[in-house]
């Protein structure tokens, strides 16, 4: 009984810590290792770096990293082309139906190296850690259901349903009421 309680507690600790911990300073060697993705030949999908797996995919489930990703999405004007995920001159992100797939490595490569037809490379504008944070956030935009770690609405004029109302695509033309 006691051991089982301890086990539950330990699992809760791991989950809680991973979801909420804030690693404010990423060690430079780790950051460098995070850059070592191995995309497939066609640039869609691929193997994440070993260190990414070893860290437990912190950019997909950690609330702080997702929040930072959302900030970068605004700061680096992803809105300019993708709008709030609804799509404009760039493709929509909210529908989760993406040209190069939803795989994190694929997204990382898209952001870092750019893609044909207008997606610029952010290699020299963002650090590896920031690109990963954006990858994590962009994935939540296209999700079928919100994760509990996903960021919520911003303090600004609302042009899209909040992230925690996923699947957001279905709600895109906001109905007047429920």
């Amino acid at each position: 009984m006691k051991r089982r309680a301890a086990l539950v507690m330990a699992v809760a600790m791991l989950v809680g810590c991973q979801r909420e911990q804030r690693d404010l300073r990423l060690d430079p060697p780790v950051a460098a290792a995070l850059d070592q993705v191995a995309p497939t030949a066609n640039g869609i999908g691929g193997a994440p770096p070993d260190v990414y797996v070893a860290l437990g995919g912190p950019y997909e489930s950690n609330a702080y990293n997702l929040g930072e990703g959302k900030r970068l999405y605004t700061w680096f004007n992803c809105k300019g082309c993708h709008a709030d995920g609804g799509g404009a001159s760039g493709p929509a992100l909210m529908d989760g139906w993406w040209r190069y797939g939803a795989d994190p490595v694929s997204l990382f490569v898209s952001l870092r190296d750019g893609r044909p037809n207008g997606m610029p490379a952010y290699r020299d504008k963002l650090t590896t850690e920031q690109i990963w944070q954006l990858v994590g956030y962009v994935q939540t935009i296209g999700m079928a259901s919100a994760t509990t770690a996903a960021p919520s609405r911003n303090d600004e004029m609302q042009s899209r349903p909040a992230e925690n109302r996923a699947p957001a695509a279905a709600d895109l033309p906001t109905p007047p009421s429920r």
Partner: protein, 338 residues
């Protein structure tokens, strides 16, 4: 105002200034802060006297009946006449409280009035709070003479300065104790603060409203200059960034405009035109970097660029991987941006 001088001279020893500039309500360097210091002194003296009186009465009450009393001693009977007389004394004490409290309210109200009454055409400076730095914009009747800087406000001595306060993200509070009381910067609301510096000097200011993980390292300095010096300085700020004087600095400019730096920072006269972080056009002319965290030297610039998250964990400046040469060059260049 002899009393004022007395109070100030009593309080002054408590207000030792640091080398970053004084940051103390007890070391007033402008009329606002001076009348506040006077008010603090007056309240302290009145309240101190009241407190002392109460303590003396408690002490006397305890001593006058000091004896080896025991819990089991029979309760004392009350003498109605005596209780009535005590009632009168208590009533008098209450009335005295009312009088004192009213008096303090009145002087506080008068002080408020004297603070809001400023004379002369003010210099209008816009101060915008970000997590965790300050953007400073000097306004002018002609829009092409607006100057944007960061983490340092320069003001002319003797002229009132009106700060127009706004916040970009969360609530901050601007507080330069040697010159004025604090005023909050609130998203969605516009606030103002007017103050005057009486003497040239460097006055440290700090964010006083908890604003997140680096609230502690969100400071700035107010530098008061003689009016002509201020005008000359402002003209200097209008100019574009200094051109590199040697090869190393030129290489540094390449790094600053080619690497991630340019995505967030503006260096006027170079391709770097980001608006997310502080304007760096004249960064080396400022006293401190990273919102009052480090003094501006080439060494500290290098340390900051190399490891911003080690110096100020959680701030929004990422650790951009640079080679040793790049770091040396870019810090040399930054140090040249006077």
């Amino acid at each position: 105002m002899r009393l004022r001088h007395l109070i100030v001279s009593v309080l002054l020893p408590l207000a030792a200034g640091g080398c970053a500039g004084s940051q103390s309500a007890l070391d007033p360097q402008g009329p606002n802060a001076a009348s506040l210091a006077w008010l603090i002194g007056a309240f302290t003296i009145v309240c101190g006297i009241v407190w002392l009186l109460v303590m003396i009465v408690v002490g006397v009450a305890l001593l006058r009946r000091r004896g080896a009393a025991e819990p089991a001693d029979t309760p004392l009977a009350e003498d109605p006449g005596r209780e009535r007389r005590k009632g009168a004394v208590v009533l008098a004490a209450v009335l005295a409280t009312v009088v004192i409290v009213t008096g303090l309210t009145v002087i506080s109200y008068l002080a408020t009035h004297s603070l809001t009454a400023a004379s002369g055409e003010p210099l209008v400076v816009r101060l915008r709070g970000y997590q965790w730095w300050w953007e400073v914009t000097y306004t002018s009747p002609s829009p092409d003479r607006f100057v944007t800087s960061a983490n340092e406000i320069r003001v002319p001595v003797g002229r009132p300065v009106r700060l127009e306060l706004s916040a970009a993200d969360v609530i901050h509070s601007f507080w330069v104790p040697s010159l004025a009381g604090k005023q909050d910067l609130i998203p969605g609301r516009d606030n103002q603060l007017t103050f005057t510096a009486e003497r040239p000097g460097i006055y440290r200011a700090q964010c006083a409203e908890f604003c997140g993980v680096q609230h502690a390292r969100m400071a700035l300095v107010v530098v008061a200059l003689p009016p002509d010096e201020f005008a000359a300085w402002l003209d200097g700020q209008l100019r574009d960034a200094a051109t590199p004087a040697n090869e190393e600095e030129a290489a540094g400019r390449e790094v600053a405009s080619g690497k991630a730096c340019a995505a967030c920072h503006t260096i006027r006269g170079t391709p770097a035109a980001g608006t997310l972080g502080p304007d760096l056009t004249h960064v080396a002319s400022r006293q401190t970097i990273a919102a009052g965290t480090l003094p501006t030297t080439r060494g500290s610039l290098a340390a900051w660029i190399a490891d911003p998250q080690g110096v100020k964990p959680g701030n929004k400046m990422p650790m951009v991987p640079l080679s040793a040469d790049e770091l040396r060059a870019v810090s040399a260049y930054m140090a040249s941006l006077k």
